[in-house]
Each structure stands twice: as C-alpha cells, then as structure tokens.
Symmetry: C2
Subunit: 348 residues, 2 copies
C-alpha cells in the first residue's frame, strides 16, 4: 500500500507547519508570499492530492450536491442535466447522480449521509412529498416541475404556457381561426400547455377545441383521427409534444390531407425527429439547457447564502420561468382558402 501523500508531508517538505500549508493551499488567511510559494511547490513535487473526505470532516462542506432525476429516459432531461452539470462545475460543486424511479427515497437518504450541500430535483418526482426524508434547511431547487414538491424549494422551469401561446399566435398570424389542441391532461406540462393554448385562443376569439390525447405517437394519431373527421374540420393542429404531432401527421396522411397545404401542424419540444427535413415540424424549443444552468447558479447562491428559508409551506418560494423559442418549419402555412361549407343543420 503506497501511503498517499498528506498535507503533513507537504508541510514538512516546505518546512512549515501543517496549518500554514493548509492555508497556503487554499489561499485563505495570511501566509507570506515566500512560504506560500514553497508550499505550492512542495505539493506539486510530491503530487499531493487533498483528501475530500477529510476536508469535508473538517470544514463541514462536502462540495457535493445531489442530482435526483425523475426518470433518466425522459429526453427532456438530457439538456437540463447538461446545463446543470455545467453550472455546478462552474460553482465548484459535483453532482451525485441518481434516478428517483429506480432508487427512490434511499437515494435521498444517501445524499444526506454524504452531507450534500444542496439538492437538485429534476422533473416531478412521484410521491416525493411523502417519500422524501426531512431535509431540514438544505437548499433545494427543482427543475422542470410546475411547482415545488419541497417546501421552500426554488423552482426553475420552462414557461410552457408561454410556448403554447406563441404557437397559437404564430398560427393566428398565418390566418388560422379553427385550431385543435391535442392535450395531455393530468400532467403538469400537459396542463400548462393546454392552459396557454386556451388562454390565447380565447383572447383571439378563436374557434378552438381541446381534445385529450397523450404524449405518444399513437395517442396523437388516434386523437387527430377523431378531430380531423369532425365538422368543421380545424385547419391547424397543435399537439402537446412532437411525438403526438407526428402521430397527427400519420393521421393526416391516412385521411388524405396534405401538410401544410390542407392542415398546419405544430408540436412541442423541438426533438431531433421534428428537425428531419422530411418532417420539418414547427415546434417549440424549451431551452432546458439554460434551465439547468440557471438552476445550478441558483443553488450555488442558496448554498453560499443561508440555505432554504425555513418559511415552509407558503407558495412564496422563488419560481423562475424561462422563455421557450418557437421554431417555425415547413409544417405550418396559411390555411387553405376554403369555400365555406353550407352550415350543417344544427338547429333543425
């Protein structure tokens, strides 16, 4: 066992005391320039590598934060995690990764044992309110969830309602007046997007319908099949996400409708599939990478400051909404100049 080199060895080599070496190494406190140099040099020569565990013991600062993901499979998280990783690194913090679905509360437990300096929750964690152990005043920021699941946690998320409004504005700008929304009710993103859709539709006095669908291609296809067969048929469909929109695309093909000549189509998330040239789906880019970075910065600030305000249950915790960006592609165009059909006998 090669004894690893400790700060003691460095101090000895530099001819100073242990504490002087400690101070010099971290650049804290008062050390004469000469000694500092000597220490640094000695450390270099010896290949000294501080022991994080020991440092954590002494200083009560681990330099670690917990990164708890709702579900790694959700592609939305990837850029968010990337931004997070970036932002945390910039703040000198290292993320300990875990999957909530897989590891559940044991993960949180482990984070507490490691004395993490903060926690990042990504997505909405099923049952987190009950399952999470008491966190005390530990700083927590939650990314990509509609509301905080931990009292006092800061929330950073994309403004899904605004993204939906932008889609509607884009479509009305093209001249559409009958727009259908394929929704994913019951999920926080789904509901936010629907709310934005309906709000803007109302404001514009549109003939708008919302139909429940889901997040998968098949769900989008079935719902679209229904709505595209109804009278009067909408001239545009805005789906809750790209997958559902692509399902709607299949439905349009099945019904012999051309996109965008007969039907405009928009999705959400700006996935790679939307960007395919054969698809060219107008979509909304979440900028979730930015969300991750902002969240990291926020957490670092909370850590540097005084932790989470013990305020508790109030909904007053900071919520940061990030603006999404509309990506206009070839799937949206002005509506066909349809001859208005004779009104179906409605009141007769």
């Amino acid at each position: 066992m090669a004894k690893s080199v400790t700060i003691l060895d460095v101090a000895a080599r530099a001819g100073v005391s242990k504490s002087a070496a400690s101070l010099a190494l971290r650049g804290t406190g008062y050390v004469s320039e000469a000694r500092r140099r000597a220490v640094l040099e000695a450390a270099e020569e010896l290949g000294y590598r501080p022991n994080a565990a020991a440092r954590a013991m002494g200083s009560a600062r681990s330099g670690i934060v917990g990164l708890i993901l709702d579900d790694l499979r959700n592609p939305w998280y990837v850029p968010a995690v990337e931004g997070l990783s970036d932002g945390l690194h910039a703040a000198g913090l290292s993320p300990l990764l875990g999957d909530w679905r897989l590891e559940g509360a044991a993960l949180a437990e482990r984070c507490l044992e490691l004395r993490v300096e903060g926690l990042v929750l990504v997505g909405t964690l099923d049952g987190a309110e009950e399952l999470l152990p008491p966190l005390g005043p530990l700083p927590v920021v939650q990314v990509g969830a509609a509301r905080a699941q931990v009292p006092g946690a800061a929330v950073v998320t994309n403004d899904d309602a605004e993204g939906a409004r932008r889609v509607v504005r884009h479509l009305t700008g093209l001249g559409h007046t009958r727009i259908a929304h394929l929704a994913d009710p019951g999920t926080s993103v789904g509901d936010a997007r629907r709310a934005g859709f309906e709000e803007e539709a109302r404001r514009a006095g549109l003939d708008a319908v919302t139909v429940p669908a889901g997040r998968t291609e098949e769900a989008g296809r079935l719902a679209a099949l229904g709505v595209l067969r109804s009278e009067p048929r909408p001239t545009a469909v805005f789906a809750v996400n790209d997958m559902a929109a692509l399902g709607a695309l299949s439905a349009a093909e099945e019904l012999g409708l051309r996109v965008p000549e007969d039907l405009s189509l928009a999705g959400y998330d700006d996935t790679p599939a939307a960007r395919l040239r054969a698809v060219g789906l107008t979509s909304v880019d979440n900028a979730s990478r930015e969300a991750g970075r902002v969240a990291a910065a926020l957490l670092a600030e909370m850590i540097a400051g005084h932790g989470r305000p013990p305020g508790g249950a109030g909904p007053g915790a900071a919520a940061t909404l990030l603006n999404p960006e509309l990506k206009v592609r070839t799937s949206t165009a002005p509506p066909p100049a349809v001859v208005r059909r004779a009104r179906p006998a409605q009141a007769g």
Copy 2:
C-alpha cells in the same frame, strides 16, 4: 446550528460503547442480539444518519465511483447511464457525474480527491490517454468505446460489427445483392459498423460499395444522392446510423424512389425517429442499457477484488461485447424485380 446526532449519541442512548454501536449498525463483527436491537432502536429514535465522510476516513472506502461521460448530448449514452445507475445502485455505489468535454481532466482530479473506488468512462474520451492523471490501480471500466483508453481497463460495448452483419444478412435474406453502406469513417463505431458490413458482404459475395458520409441527416442525404445516382444503382442502403438513414430517405424521395418498393433502407441505433410509423425504419437496437448494467457489475467486482491488474499496456484487458438486436420495420423489403439494364458501355 442543530448539532447532528452522531454514533456517540446512539451508543449512549443504547447504553453501549461507541464501537459496539458501530458494529451493530453495520451488522459486522460480534454483538449480542439484545444490544444490536437496542442500538438499532436508539438510532431509529434519534434519527441517526451516519456521516459518509467520516466513514470514508475511517474505512478508506467512499462508496462513490466517478462517472465520466464523453458528451452528455449523445443520445446513445442515456440508456447506458440508466443501466449504469441501476447497476451501481445495486452494488451500493453512487455515481458522481461529470462531462469530459466540459470539465476535462479537472473532473478526474476531483474524483481522485474524493477517493472514488472506481471509474466508469462512457464513450471515447478525446485525448484521455494524455489528459487523465495517473490513476494508479484504480478499477476502471470503459463503456461504449472500441478499446480501453486506460491500461488495463475493462471494456464493455455493443458489438457494432455484429449488428452490421445482421443488417446485411437481413438484406441478403430478402434477396438484395447490391447494397451500399453510408459510413462514418474515422470514428470507432463508424469503423466497426463498416467492418461488419464489408466482412459479411464479402462472405455473401455481394456487390457492395462503401461511401463516406457522416452521422447527420444532411451527410446521409448527400452521400445517398451520390450513390443512388450511380449505375448500377444499389437496391438497398445501410446507413451508419438512423439520422443518416433518414437523410437517405429524403434523398430517395427527391429522386422519386419509393421505399421500400424501389429501395430498402436500414439504419442503426433504433432511435425514436426510426420507430415513427410514418418512417418505420429498419434499425439495430444496441441494448446499451444492458451494457451499462454489465459495466456496473464488472466494476463492482473489480472493486471487491483486487483492483485493476497492474499489468498495464497489454491489450489483454477483458472486453465484453454485447449483441445488438435487429428491428425489422417497413423500410426493408425484397428488391424490385428489375429488368437488367443494358450494360453501360464500359469497356468500349
């Protein structure tokens, strides 16, 4: 500052010594049943939570492993990381996440400071050979790379050559004899897939061509445009990945070729886009989640055993190849029963 409860508090409450409490808590060594029970109960009542840093100091075991990703954005890694996370958790290890591109060698440094028990490298890390600090006998496993970048590291990866062979066998089984491969030369996966393609093509005595393309849709489109205009035109195209295959799909459309009637198309990676019903791209599923899990198990074993054999430079390190699975969809079909065109005057 609420002093946190230590093992001393637990011991006192249970009326035993510090070490008895320690042993009881971990279930190691000899403790009478009565005392063990008392300790566990006391810990429970006090809400005792062991301090990982302190434990690490005493036992020289941190319970942490470094998880260094080449690039989080690469979608291939997501399932791999998931499997890794799962497998590590099963082994009682927690992954510390980092992005090689973003943080580079500083990340490895940080891992060493934390005294991680092992390292997982995901993907091929640019310049890792020079940039990584000396790792000593630290167990390392590398996932998804063609070869180990650290001497003696275990390698777990998908068998890309085998996947390519399976695609070729599928196509020849359908009756194709002229197949083009859109390659991504210079990358380890690209080269492995090309090698598998060429090997199987040779074995089957095919009329095969390999053209350099790339991993993007546009690269695939351009390369396909070229190869589909050549004479004799191939009846099937196998692209290095789904994106390139989808580019080839665009190219086919541009040239008025129907898929699969006039042209069969296959990709690799089984991405969500390939699964779209409007696309139905035959592809290869890497099972990289499994790769992650296997890698985690392997690392746990190395940690439990005697670390990485100091053997060093030899290529003898274990390499585990995982079999991919062919996903046949609607983009591949028997070749058109073409009338053989008059040979273009070649030797004239």
